[in-house]
Symmetry: C2
Subunit: 361 residues, 2 copies
Amino acid sequence: MTPETPGFPAVWLRHNCPCQDCRDPVTGQRLLKITDIPNGLVATVTAQHDTEIVVTFAPDGHRSVFRRDWLAAQALMGDGADPDPRTEDGKVLWRAADLAAPPATDWAAYTSDDRVREDCLDAVARYGCALLRGVPASPGMVLEVAATFGYVRETNYGKLFDVRVEPDPDNLAFTSREIAPHTDNPYRDPVPTLQLLHCLRDARSDGSEAGGDTGLVDGFAAAAALRAEDPESFGVLTGTPVPFGYVDKETELTARQPLISLSPRGRIAGIRYNDRSMLPLRLPPAEAEAAYAAIGVWARLLSRPEFLLRLRLAPGDCLIFDNTRVLHARTGFTATAERHLQGCYADLDGLLSTLAVLRRQ
Amino acid sequence: MTPETPGFPAVWLRHNCPCQDCRDPVTGQRLLKITDIPNGLVATVTAQHDTEIVVTFAPDGHRSVFRRDWLAAQALMGDGADPDPRTEDGKVLWRAADLAAPPATDWAAYTSDDRVREDCLDAVARYGCALLRGVPASPGMVLEVAATFGYVRETNYGKLFDVRVEPDPDNLAFTSREIAPHTDNPYRDPVPTLQLLHCLRDARSDGSEAGGDTGLVDGFAAAAALRAEDPESFGVLTGTPVPFGYVDKETELTARQPLISLSPRGRIAGIRYNDRSMLPLRLPPAEAEAAYAAIGVWARLLSRPEFLLRLRLAPGDCLIFDNTRVLHARTGFTATAERHLQGCYADLDGLLSTLAVLRRQ
């Protein structure tokens, strides 16, 4: 470490050397192995130019040239100064009153203007949800929406699934029942990190009474509220893996994850909650009682109206939301109503990659 | 809690009531909401039959009938007695000498006999790898192999990717270079949890000298060794999110996860390591030095010959391995050799579901 490379340990500089021996010029991938870095490495600035500095290492004599602006941008930082964008630190947390409605975008503009698409995907990254309006209400379009930013995650429900009343449902989603706020597929690991729901027909299309409204809850905001109000329950929930399961004739999925996941730095990083598919907790009695008590506190907090953003999907609306953060719900509706949504799953990494590429322009 | 329902708290019994009001008889999903369970719940056994007991709850008077054998199977347990099959507790850890070769299965038997298929998928679950032999060496077959147990995870590399020497590679995999043990796509979150590699042509098919051998390392066994030998480095690695990145013209992926992930119970649950794509750590200098030192210890441990299971894929061989556990490597080969593998990604949850369904029979 020298005054010209403040804060950068020698091993850091060596591991990040950009020379052609250390990094492949075509792929940009590292060729240097960390095991090739000698012990007791010392870095000395041996030349300074306007835009670059030269660092020479002892004992191996390797020479690295670093651009000054690149080094400055890499400044080493403390906890929280380089926030993980997938945790609460990279998000705008919200309650219903903060948003009024999910950030909405017109499909025609989305498909023709990269800036509009960037804003829409940015809304998913920051708020956990976005609404596309005017997507043609034709079957299969939801897959085309997913293809604009990423890749569909196929599951036992297919590449896409139809959400409508079915005579012989495998899942309560396929009935007219009220569904409380939940995340999808908690019994899957890795869980699909994005969900799309495209409305082909709403509950009133046939003239029946209202119903089938959609609700969204920012689970990160709710978890932050729980941490502030009841840190003990928060601690139980983040430390207790909860088993979830789904069984049908051809499928038998189970996963065990906490209802609230933390990053290694202790920041809120994931929400997983679905009362319908929670399996019996297998814990010593006192722990089981404490866990159910904490789950009850969490469920009551999640059902507070202040968290529930209500909306009614109209034909052509396509909702995109972060299934690791935002819980979704629907009100019950008349069983004869021909409400019909199509949904699919996708993943956040693909969406965030598309967003990063759009931001380059 | 009563002598007839030893260890089951009242709230546990109530949340797991199997009656038609509490659980949908068609889907098997829970209808009861945890928020509907009254506070101060008391459970009393009010009738006992040969195969069932009746529990009545105060204050709401709800009545549940539990099968005795079901209750006995749900016995509440202590830490470690109900191991998470996705962590080290559900695995058989191995070093090269323990396996000699990955558990191998003939493709014809695999496709015609459910017991053979079950054994092969069980090997992936327990050992983290399995080899199918005699898979027709024709392009695209790797997708058919994946379809026998789950769903392909499409990425920026496509539904499948060709691993061969390319003139203008985006990735060092597509060169003839040696590749040290690594997991794939550490810059992706969620990371693909399974990888398939299907050999269409090996490095010697054109008569050139040997090379392009495959190596596998059980990362869970290596992490357990690190924990035993150097708990301090183990603690640094499990507590430090490491940023990984991949950039090309159309892609810009980043993810931050520890190199060794633990379950909330502190058990080894995931390995993520690829020196080629590690981004600069942005930590205060002392933490950065400690992190690089721990990464160096880990990399040296991973490169010990005792962990490296070597094999040579022959045309028709298809390797399936757990990308959250098993690192893979290859030796360098002559750049003119026409070695050609096709790979794809898939997910463990689908494979484990297929395995669970096969086990029902």
